[in-house]
């Protein structure tokens, strides 16, 4: 579905990504793990069109989308749940969800997508008229995911969805991602919670200093000595 080839990204003079290649199959959960500053968020932003790559290709279903502006990438069905639950705090929950449905591809399906999101997260229906800034951290993350789903994406990139959430909420969040994937959503999961994301992933990549240093199925990486030492503390 999505293929990244030899991607190089600079922020000024600093190289954030250095020849990254990876592949996301339709219907997969692909995990990208790595330490802070390894380039995970840069990778997501570049795929989403929020940052232009210096070199390399991003191929979506055969078409190169590298350098395409983010609003057009979004409309091709690549959604993003950004790090840190970026909801619009003084808009209501309903307005936040509406903002997600403004994409041309999703406008006509707003009612259907809203039903789906509210079925997935019933708490959002209860809080519909409440300002998003008054929600708890877990609820805000649900809203961020729900808002993204309102845009009817086929592939969603999750950037640290469990960051700052209580352990019980983290489990529920990852369960939701697994459920969405079973319904056919292709997922790219960037997580510091390495053990959990590797268990979930059909394929995983280790990103270090802007390079892919290791890749394999989730199970393979979980069993890899280097991964166990560096990320699982075993």
């Amino acid at each position: 579905m999505l293929r990244v080839e030899d991607l190089e990204v600079f922020y000024g003079d600093a190289r954030a990504l250095d020849g990254v290649s990876l592949q996301v199959e339709e219907g997969a959960i692909v995990a990208i793990v790595g330490a802070n500053g390894a380039g995970k968020t840069s990778l997501i932003r570049t795929i989403a069109g929020m940052h232009a790559p210096g070199r390399g290709r991003i191929v979506l279903r055969g078409a190169d989308i590298a350098g395409m502006p983010s609003h057009r990438v979004c409309n091709l069905g690549i959604g993003q749940v950004a790090e840190g639950r970026q909801v619009f705090p003084s808009m209501t929950v309903a307005e936040n969800l509406d903002m997600g449905a403004m994409l041309p591809r999703a406008r006509a399906h707003r009612a259907k997508n809203l039903d789906r999101v509210l079925a997935l997260f019933p708490v959002l229906a209860e809080r519909s008229a409440q300002a998003a800034g008054t929600l708890s951290g877990g609820e805000q993350q649900m809203l961020a995911i729900g808002r993204c789903l309102m845009g009817q994406p086929e592939l969603v990139m999750f950037d640290e969805p469990s960051l700052g959430l209580a352990p019980a909420v983290v489990q529920a969040m990852l369960q939701t991602i697994r459920d969405l994937n079973r319904e056919g959503l292709t997922c790219v999961l960037v997580e510091q919670n390495v053990a959990v994301s590797l268990k979930l992933a059909s394929r995983a990549y280790v990103l270090e200093n802007g390079r892919i240093t290791l890749s394999g199925t989730g199970a393979e990486l979980l069993a890899d000595d280097r991964v166990r030492r560096a990320y699982l503390g075993l």
Binding site: A48, H71, C74, S90, M91, C148
Partner: protein
């Protein structure tokens, strides 16, 4: 006809009845004012309407789309000089000069917006950029011989016995109604914009631009539209300014104090609200005139004292009502749309 009525009805849709009633009352007072008020009061009312109008225009950029401009005097000046020059040099009516003024100001706004938004100049740096362009214009027009440079550009002064609306020459009452029309028009336009899809995009950008981009909103385009609309509207105020005051000096028209003066109203009244610019204009103009009156009555008028009192009053408003006057007032009157505010 039915469609027109539907259109008018849709304007008031979702607005609380009490808000409509108070709006109608306010409009009635303003419509009747010239029969009651003397020339002095009328002059103050014209100022209020002028600042209500410019406040709405500035509010589109800052209040709706979250882009702080401290250089709106640029657009006032461009509008003023364009129509005044066309009138004085070629006898072109200000109504025909108006579209030219709008094009000039919109082009300037688009240029500044493009520079800033394409190259990621944001926040205070964007504000500084807007100041810089207003300053460029001030210095440039000081040496612009065609409009008489720093010596000032004068329009032939009106003969007040007869109103000539086509050439905007006439009595204060005529200017009053022109200003009232502008203020009402700006209010209706902003009301419509705020509820349009574009208005929602602007609010999203103001709240969190990154998040807006992740949802596929073309933030560059939305911000450009905000600047162009805001600049165009502000240039219309410039046209009014030129024909009302009949003289233009670059040092005054483009001066940064003009830009500040124009943004105080919406800040005091409530940024991003429809009533904020109106309340702010009424309060600020009233305050500055009122303080002058009171101090005069006490025979107390040392130089600068008026400014000091004015400053203290502004300070109090900003300290006690950081959201501006309108949001808490609206809640108190039961006119607020949204009672809940997020915790910071």
């Amino acid at each position: 006809m039915a469609r027109l009525l539907d259109g008018i009805a849709s304007l008031t849709e979702g607005v609380p009845r009490r808000a409509l009633a108070s709006l109608a009352a306010l409009l009635a007072v303003f419509l009747a004012a010239p029969w009651i008020a003397n020339d002095y009061v009328l002059t103050i009312l014209i100022l209020i309407l002028y600042f209500a109008y410019t406040g709405q225009a500035w509010n589109i950029m800052m209040g709706f789309a979250g882009q702080l401009s401290l250089g709106h005097a640029l657009y006032v000046g461009l509008g003023a000089y364009t129509t005044a020059a066309l009138y004085v040099h070629f006898g072109v009516s200000p109504w025909l000069g108006l579209p030219v003024a709008i094009i000039v100001a919109a082009t300037a706004g688009a240029f500044i917006g493009f520079l800033a938004f394409r190259f990621g100049v944001a926040g205070v740096y964007f504000a500084i950029l807007t100041i810089a362009f207003a300053e460029f214009a001030r210095i440039g027009f000081d040496h612009f011989r065609w409009v008489n440079g720093s010596a000032g550009f004068f329009l032939p002064v009106a003969n007040y016995t007869q109103n000539d609306l086509w050439n905007l020459r006439g009595s204060p009452t005529m200017f009053y109604y022109v200003a009232l029309g502008m203020a009402v028009g700006a209010f209706v336009l902003c009301h419509g914009l705020l509820r349009s899809r574009l208005g929602y995009f602007w609010q999203a950008i103001r709240e969190d631009e990154m998040a807006a981009r992740t949802l596929g909103i073309d933030t560059f385009r939305c911000k450009m539209i905000a600047v162009v609309i805001s600049a165009s509207m502000t240039s219309v105020a410039g046209v009014f300014f030129a024909f009302y005051y009949n003289n233009l000096f670059p040092e005054q028209v483009f001066h940064i104090s003009r830009s500040i003066e124009l943004i105080l109203g919406p800040i005091i009244g409530g940024i991003g609200t429809l009533f904020g610019p109106i309340i702010g204009a009424i309060l600020l103009t009233g305050l500055s005139e009122g303080i002058w009156e009171v101090m005069n009555a006490f025979g107390f008028n040392p130089p600068g004292a008026r400014q000091v009192f004015y400053g203290i009053c502004l300070l109090l408003v900003v300290m006690l009502l950081p959201d501006g006057i309108w949001p808490p007032l609206a809640r108190k009157l039961g006119l607020g749309k949204r009672p809940e505010k997020p915790e910071p």
